[in-house]
């Protein structure tokens, strides 16, 4: 058998720290008949060609590439193997960059020693790698779009125009999202309703779109391009069984309804009745009854709307409907909520009458030119930027991007309507990044709007005039301004909408540090998620203005089309399988699989249904004789790589083996590397599908072969692809710990930790804490290690 080992310098990222010639020498001495190449960039076309040519010319059967994390270029190299006629799964990636050269940048010698262990493990595993086949599944043309704001609307229309069947679900009673609340849009000042209304109508009329408004996703689950959702259509309490022509919109019900409530689409500056149509441009243009506030539902004292309705379409008995849909792809366009400024008590929002949010100001400005506007603005108006953005105090360190421009827009509209208003915009940095934005900002200055650099520290209210007294440093003159304003407008930042949370939980979507949904890659997969078949559109992925939102929404539609155009998709071959020659049909595994993928076949032996299996590895622990196994992470492969990685350990050295689930903790360790965060050089990190794959035998084996501590890392149950896995892991750990106790080995040497995607510092601190703990205790005596080995492997 011939193996090729490729050492990537990564333009110095690796070779400046790790002594690659030394690694080559080490591998040569240890393995002899092996082909070793060093290259500046293995991922480049030239690097890939090197592998392809070697496979063809030297008859390589297995390949190891020591480079960056497999999450970056495993796909690239698998494709290269395939081009050369090799099966893509006889490849191993040694994570030299993220887990070694970057993490231990300042300790080149120790990093080189660690790299030896990493590559030895890869070589040991690759020798046992065998070809795996990807099964093909058929795809349809059904897409579910969650969220009916401008993002969801655009994605739906693009997909429907391309002939796909779209189900669009919106929780509010009208389409349009936040854009339906805006007065005008920057920098052109064209009316928001005029732009979005035709699109909303197009959605309603499109033969390929099924629209559910006033509806929620009750449940959604699925994986790998097949998802099933239950839609809950909340009752409007208006009959619409035959056709809506039944309701004549005669407004008699509205005239008679005694209840007044703040209208959300007017941001509370105007009221609506308990029976109402949300906005003048609502789609669908239908009444609904606000159950929370309607007297009929409160105490049954009123049913006047039903009494006066000439068509008798009001139905207080209407119940929620549930609709099941099965789709191939999902687009999450659940949007943003503005920051709730009541949290920042120094600004007195919600307490002072004349402090308003940006969206409230949209509605105030929209009505300002009316004869009797619902709200006047007064003589002097202040806009305050970065409220709920760029503020570590509230855990929002990011810039919300749009607030500078929407304050400029609101100020400009106000100045045009009321030129006598004295307007100040208090900002920290002014970001006019988009096309035509800088020019728009300049025009607002020309109008006489004054920009003062400085963030107000606090507001107080004049008890008599109710004016707001703003205290702020003009950081350009270094004067302290303390002045009364008739109105203060907060530029609320954006955060992921609260309605996104249940979707996030059910679809197991990861979030980035800013709390928005995380894209698969910030540069080249910006609308994909890490879950195959789920895409992101609009502000659910991060703060965006309307042009960027629409661009991303169309991009998401494009990605869906590209996916569905493949007609079929490949199943990841990392699935469980049963060694038919070993299995004795004891049936202990049957109940362990939450997906019911294990059954007993005609020979009385266990068998895996590959369409159901997700490849978590949880069933492995249930088999007392290691008959169940997992492709690409087989018992033999795991034993071999653990043993090889410990083979260079010298007297007095320590080893912490970290088994990290590939989706969260392995990537977390990658991210630590990217940020050059240091952690103990005793660590050796292994990739596994989930912590539950670590059977008690594997853990004991690791300790018997020289590991001083074993850490298993997995994502919390809530955000894991395998919700059941952590319980299995904990059970395995408990078993091993009791065995360790019996042998007088400290059970603290075995650690299980759950990490969310952003907890980098917690991870490095934990690893360092283990290293520190190992320094305080005596090493495991060799006889004890031998006993452990016997327990696993017999005499």
């Amino acid at each position: 058998m011939k193996t090729g080992v490729y050492l990537c310098q990564c333009g110095g990222n690796i070779s400046n720290t790790i002594d690659l010639p030394k690694i080559a020498k080490h591998v040569k001495e240890k393995k002899g008949d092996i082909l070793i190449q060093e290259n500046s960039h293995m991922c480049s076309g030239a690097g890939q060609k090197l592998i392809i040519d070697d496979i063809k010319n030297h008859g390589l059967e297995k390949v190891v590439v020591a480079a960056c994390s497999p999450h970056f270029h495993e796909k690239t190299f698998r494709a290269a193997l395939q081009k050369a006629g090799l099966n893509p799964y006889v490849l191993e990636i040694s994570n030299f960059r993220e887990h070694c050269s970057w993490a231990h940048k300042n300790e080149p010698e120790i990093a080189t020693e660690k790299a030896k262990d990493i590559i030895d493990a890869s070589i040991a595993k690759v020798e046992l790698d065998f070809p795996l086949e990807e099964k093909k599944m058929q795809m349809g043309d059904e897409v579910l779009v969650i969220g009916g704001g401008i993002a969801g609307i655009q994605t739906s229309l693009d997909l429907a125009d391309a002939g796909k069947k779209v189900t669009l679900v919106e929780k509010e009673p009208t389409l349009g999202g936040k854009m339906a609340i805006l007065t005008k849009t920057f920098p052109t000042e064209d009316c928001a309703a005029c732009i979005i209304s035709p699109k909303m109508a197009a959605v309603q009329d499109h033969p390929n779109i099924t629209l559910y408004t006033n509806s929620e996703i009750e449940s959604i689950a699925g994986h790998r391009l097949h998802f099933e959702a239950k839609i809950k259509k909340n009752p409007r309490f208006i009959l619409d069984t035959i056709d809506m022509d039944q309701c004549l919109i005669c407004t008699k019900c509205v005239q008679e309804c005694p209840i007044e409530q703040p209208n959300y689409w007017e941001q509370g500056i105007m009221n609506r009745k308990a029976i109402y149509i949300p906005a003048p441009h609502a789609i669908p243009y239908k009444y609904l009854i606000d159950k929370e506030n309607c007297l009929h539902f409160k105490d049954g004292s009123c049913s006047i709307c039903a009494d006066v309705c000439p068509q008798k379409v009001i139905d207080f008995e209407q119940k929620a409907e549930f609709i099941d849909v099965a789709v191939d792809n999902v687009v999450v366009a659940t949007g943003y909520d503005i920051y709730d400024a009541t949290e920042k008590t120094v600004f007195g929002y919600g307490k002072y009458k004349n402090v308003v949010s940006a969206l409230e100001m949209e509605r105030i400005v929209d009505h300002i030119s009316e004869k009797e506007p619902p709200r006047e603005v007064g003589k002097r108006v202040a806009f305050v930027q970065c409220v709920g953005s760029r503020d570590k105090q509230i855990g929002r360190e990011y810039c919300s991007r749009v607030c500078c421009m929407f304050s400029v827009k609101l100020a400009s509209l106000l100045k045009q309507a009321k030129p006598e208003t004295d307007i100040y915009i208090f900002y920290t940095d002014l970001r006019a990044f988009g096309k035509g934005y800088e020019e728009y900002y300049k025009r607002s200055q020309e109008m006489g709007i004054k920009f003062v650099r400085g963030k107000p520290s606090h507001f107080t209210e004049d008890p008599d005039t109710k004016q707001v007294i703003v205290t702020v440093e003009d950081t350009l003159s270094r004067d302290i301004i303390q002045s009364e304003f008739d109105l203060v407008v907060l530029a609320n930042g954006m955060g992921l909408s609260a309605a996104s949370e249940p979707i996030a939980d059910q679809l197991k979507l990861a979030k980035s540090d800013d709390g928005f949904f995380k894209e698969a890659h910030p540069k080249y997969r910006p609308v994909d998620t890490l879950v195959e078949g789920i895409f992101l559109a609009g502000t659910a992925q991060g703060p965006k203005d309307i042009p960027d939102t629409v661009t991303q929404a169309s991009a998401a539609a494009g990605r869906v089309l590209a996916t569905l155009a493949q007609k079929e998709f490949s199943l990841d071959p990392v699935l469980a399988f049963v060694h038919q020659d070993i299995c004795d049909g004891c049936k202990q595994c049957l109940n362990e699989c939450p997906k019911k993928a294990i059954s007993i076949n005609a020979d009385g032996k266990a068998e895996i249904n590959e369409a159901l299996c997700l490849g978590c590895g949880s069933c492995l622990a249930s088999c007392p004789i290691e008959a169940i196994d997992l492709n690409y992470f087989t018992n033999d492969q795991m034993y071999a790589q653990i043993e090889a990685s410990l083979s260079n350990k010298k007297e007095g050295e320590k080893r912490i083996l970290i088994f990290a689930d590939e989706n969260t903790v392995y990537r977390l360790a990658d991210a630590c590397g990217v940020r050059k965060m240091k952690y103990s050089t005793d660590s050796r990190i292994f990739r596994i599908p989930s912590g539950s794959r670590m059977t008690s035998n594997l853990i004991k084996f690791a300790l018997s072969k020289g590991a001083d501590a074993v850490m298993i890392g997995d994502s919390p149950e809530k955000s894991s692809r395998f919700a059941w896995a952590n319980n299995v892991t904990k059970e395995n750990i408990k078993q091993v710990q009791s065995a360790l106790n019996d042998l007088q080995i400290e059970p603290e040497r075995l650690i299980f930790k759950e990490y969310s995607a952003g907890e980098l510092a917690r991870f490095t601190n934990d690893v360092d804490a283990i290293a520190e703990f190992l320094g305080t205790i005596a090493p495991i005596p060799n006889e004890t290690r031998d006993k452990l080995f016997t327990a696993v492997r017999g005499e």
């Binding site: 003589k379 440093e473 003159s477 004067d479």
Partner: protein, 134 residues
């Protein structure tokens, strides 16, 4: 020590007046500092030209006490370099006009001794009435 200031209608009036006299939209100033950076007389000035623009914008009339506008030689370096095409020297001129129209004499003619009156050229005495450069 930080100065406490107020934004009020008087300040807005002052800004409007300077904008009218100079013909320049002072609120357009982005505070980039190009004018101050290029000014050949900056070392002699007590307040930088960009700060003059700032103080006028936020209506701070006490900027009239600064020597800067009297030191400005109207060389137009600021004017030709301003990225917003503002004519800063015109703003200095507007400020000078405002001050001159207050018609405050710097010397009292009665207090000039006869001997001094005999020695000094009459142009020097007239010039000294409006001498603000120190």
């Amino acid at each position: 020590m930080a100065k406490l200031i107020k934004l009020d209608d008087k300040g807005v009036e002052f800004l409007d007046k300077i904008m009218e006299l100079s013909g320049e939209t002072i609120t357009l100033c982005d505070q980039c500092g190009t004018c101050s950076g290029g000014c050949p007389f900056i070392a002699e000035m007590d307040v930088n030209p960009s700060q003059i623009m700032r103080q006028v914008m936020i209506g701070q009339k006490n900027i009239m006490e600064s020597k800067t506008m009297w030191i400005c030689a109207s060389c137009f370096t600021c004017t030709v370099r301003c990225p917003r095409e503002l004519d800063v020297s015109k703003v200095a001129e507007a400020l000078r006009q405002v001050k001159l129209r207050e018609a405050i004499d710097f010397i009292d003619i009665e207090k000039i001794s006869e001997e001094e009156a005999r020695i000094l050229p009459s142009i020097a005495i007239v010039g000294a009435f409006r001498k603000f450069t120190g």
